[in-house]
């Protein structure tokens, strides 16, 4: 019975305590936020009974409605654009023998992960305002372009991971079996990379949906998204309505991330 066991990190003293502490720090605030979104009172700190009133008030709030629609529109467009670009980048960087400068290309594609977001935001603000002055256009396109750009690495990474697990000989085999390059892509590469593409698109959508910093700098007047609207509300008065919007925003995020996880798990 006293046989030697293999080393396990679980045997270290305090492992369970630290793990529980970490989960508390991560999830206790979110649980609190969700709980107080159902508060009947005006406070975000004193519980006064259960109610849907803040959800009703958010639902009826025209500004929230507009911001929500805008957020979804931007996220959909940015997710679509960045996924297409990321797919092309991933195909270009993985469906071939390793090449010189590969790491440089990876780094360039993943630039948004490395450059501080605030720097990008300031740069975009200055750059886009020049264009706005020159063209007079101040529509949603600026936000869509900016979101597409920073979503690219989030779409790129799962697609690349998927493609790297795929035998390069598959396209060769397709060509050997009379498939033209387009047919080989359509019938072999694309169906096999699809889980990665969907995962990338979902991740990009979620990332776009909750962006604050770049949106705050790039948006023109009257272009609030849900996150920037909430930020604006918090600056004035803290109301459980923000809790309700946050909780509502949490739902698609959790759903998409679960789907992302399931798609990636199926790969193995």
């Amino acid at each position: 019975m006293a046989g030697r066991r293999a080393f396990s990190v679980k045997d270290l003293p305090g492992f369970a305590t630290i793990a529980i502490a970490c989960f508390l720090v991560l999830y206790a605030p979110i649980v609190t936020l969700v709980v107080y979104s159902f508060n009947a009172g005006d406070s975000v700190a004193i519980w006064q009974g259960f109610s849907w009133r803040w959800y009703e008030s958010a639902w009826d709030n025209r500004q929230v409605q507009e911001a929500a629609i805008r957020s979804v529109a931007i996220a959909s467009a940015a997710s679509a654009i960045s996924t297409v670009l990321a797919t092309m980048a991933a195909l270009g960087t993985t469906r071939r023998a390793p090449f010189r400068g590969q790491m440089v290309i990876y780094t360039l594609i993943n630039q948004p992960l490395m450059v501080p977001e605030i720097v990008t935001a300031v740069a975009l603000l200055i750059f886009f305002s020049m264009i706005k002055i020159a063209t007079g256009y101040s529509g949603l396109a600026y936000l869509i372009v900016a979101h597409s750009a920073f979503c690219i690495p989030f779409a790129y990474l799962p697609i690349r991971a998927r493609l790297e697990g795929m035998d390069l000989t598959l396209e060769t085999a397709a060509a050997d079996l009379y498939a033209t390059p387009w047919q080989a892509f359509r019938r072999v590469t694309l169906p096999l990379m699809m889980p990665g593409v969907l995962a990338g698109a979902m991740l990009a959508f979620v990332i776009s949906l909750d962006d604050v910093v770049i949106t705050e700098f790039v948006k023109s007047a009257g272009q609030e998204t849900l996150p920037t609207y909430m930020l604006g509300q918090l600056r004035r008065a803290v109301s459980p309505e923000v809790n309700a919007i946050s909780t509502a925003l949490l739902v698609p995020t959790v759903v998409l991330l679960t789907a992302f996880y399931l798609l990636n798990r199926r790969r193995s």
């Binding site: 035998d167 000989t169 085999a173 397709a174 060509a175 050997d176 079996l177 498939a179 096999l192």
Partner: protein, 362 residues
């Protein structure tokens, strides 16, 4: 000549292939010419890096020659892309499409060729029967064993009825027993389909047992082309002799013998009547281990000492030293009593049959 040319399925004409450029250029094939006949089981045999797979990829169209031509049925196809060549490949990794079923994989080539639905279904049934995989037609390829994947890969490549089937070391991932089965299976498929097979391997035994003809390659060149028997019994060079089977390469001289016949005297002490009576002077000869005979140490015979006996089941390889510096390998089918009589350290008589000697000219 005309009828000969008619029978050629694939021809490589002075083909060269260089990868990379400048100082990092690697010459994978150097002036290779070979004609592969229709319905032939032709093997490209050589160590890794000898250019055999490159030659296969040139025939398939995955690479294009740097110089020379590849002809299929007399037509130059050197510049055709793989999807326009009536040539299919069985890949070393099989490269089955993981998102398709067994059936879907086999139908792929026919679908790309735009065949009718009925015809595809019929051919797929036929192929499944040919490789005995009918019961697994709806399985995903990830759900079947390596040996079964191998069969699917074969069926997939045979389904479009290619003029030539290329096989790139397809048996290397299988265990010994399965490999032996597939060797027989491949021969059967070739007979049944009448398709020309071009088979790449580094396994000399595989090449000898399966091929109609073998091309032995080294360093991007073809050293010898011939039937398995020709390659084994009359290797054209030291490299071929060493690469195909176990071998003794011995030095000696040819002298005039009694009655005008030539006499071959080897440095290790062995002697025999010369297979080439007119020949004189220093020579190198090849003697296969099974052509040396072990006996009781008797008068007039060369006496050796068994240094090592390596047991192979049906036979044993005896490493016999002759004097201080010479050693030969003798293969002998195992008989009762060998184990005690021919133990390591035993003294034995050695006899060489002159007919079994092959002169090496390089």
């Amino acid at each position: 000549m005309t009828s000969d040319r008619h029978q050629v399925a694939v021809e490589a004409r002075r083909v060269g292939k260089v990868f990379g450029d400048g100082t990092s250029a690697v010459r994978a094939l150097d002036d290779v010419s070979v004609s592969i006949r229709q319905n032939e089981f032709f093997t490209l045999l050589g160590p890794s890096g000898c250019g055999k797979t490159t030659l296969l990829r040139l025939i398939a169209g995955f690479e294009h020659p740097s110089s020379g031509q590849i002809l299929l049925d007399g037509t130059d196809i050197s510049r055709e892309p793989p999807y326009r060549r009536p040539v299919n490949t069985v890949f070393q990794s099989y490269a089955l499409f993981p998102h398709l079923t067994v059936e879907g994989n086999i139908a792929f080539g026919l679908q790309m060729l735009g065949r009718q639905r009925d015809e595809i279904a019929e051919t797929v049934d036929e192929m499944l029967a040919l490789v005995k995989m009918e019961s697994l037609r709806n399985r995903r390829v990830a759900q079947i064993s390596g040996g079964q994947q191998q069969r699917v890969a074969l069926a997939r490549a045979l389904a479009p009825r290619p003029r030539v089937l290329l096989l790139d070391e397809p048996l290397s991932a299988l265990d010994l027993k399965l490999r032996k089965e597939m060797q027989i299976e491949l021969k059967r498929l070739q007979h049944q389909t009448g398709i020309t097979f071009v088979f790449v391997t580094h396994d000399q035994e595989e090449a000898l047992t399966m091929s109609d003809r073998i091309a032995v390659m080294s360093d991007g060149r073809i050293l010898q082309i011939g039937s398995p028997r020709e390659i084994y019994e009359r290797p054209a060079s030291r490299f071929v002799a060493h690469f195909i089977g176990d071998t003794n390469i011995l030095d000696g001289v040819c002298e005039p013998g009694p009655d005008g016949a030539g006499r071959l005297r080897l440095a290790c002490g062995l002697a025999a009547s010369s297979p080439d009576p007119g020949r004189r002077g220093a020579v190198s000869v090849l003697v296969r281990p099974e052509h040396l005979e072990l006996g009781e140490p008797a008068d007039g015979e060369v006496i050796g000492v068994i240094e090592r006996a390596v047991y192979f089941g049906t036979d044993t390889h005896y490493h016999v030293s002759l004097g201080e510096t010479h050693q030969v390998v003798v293969r002998r089918q195992n008989r009762r009593g060998d184990a005690s009589r021919l133990a390591e350290g035993a003294r034995v008589g050695l006899r060489l049959d002159g007919d079994a000697v092959q002169f090496l000219d390089d």
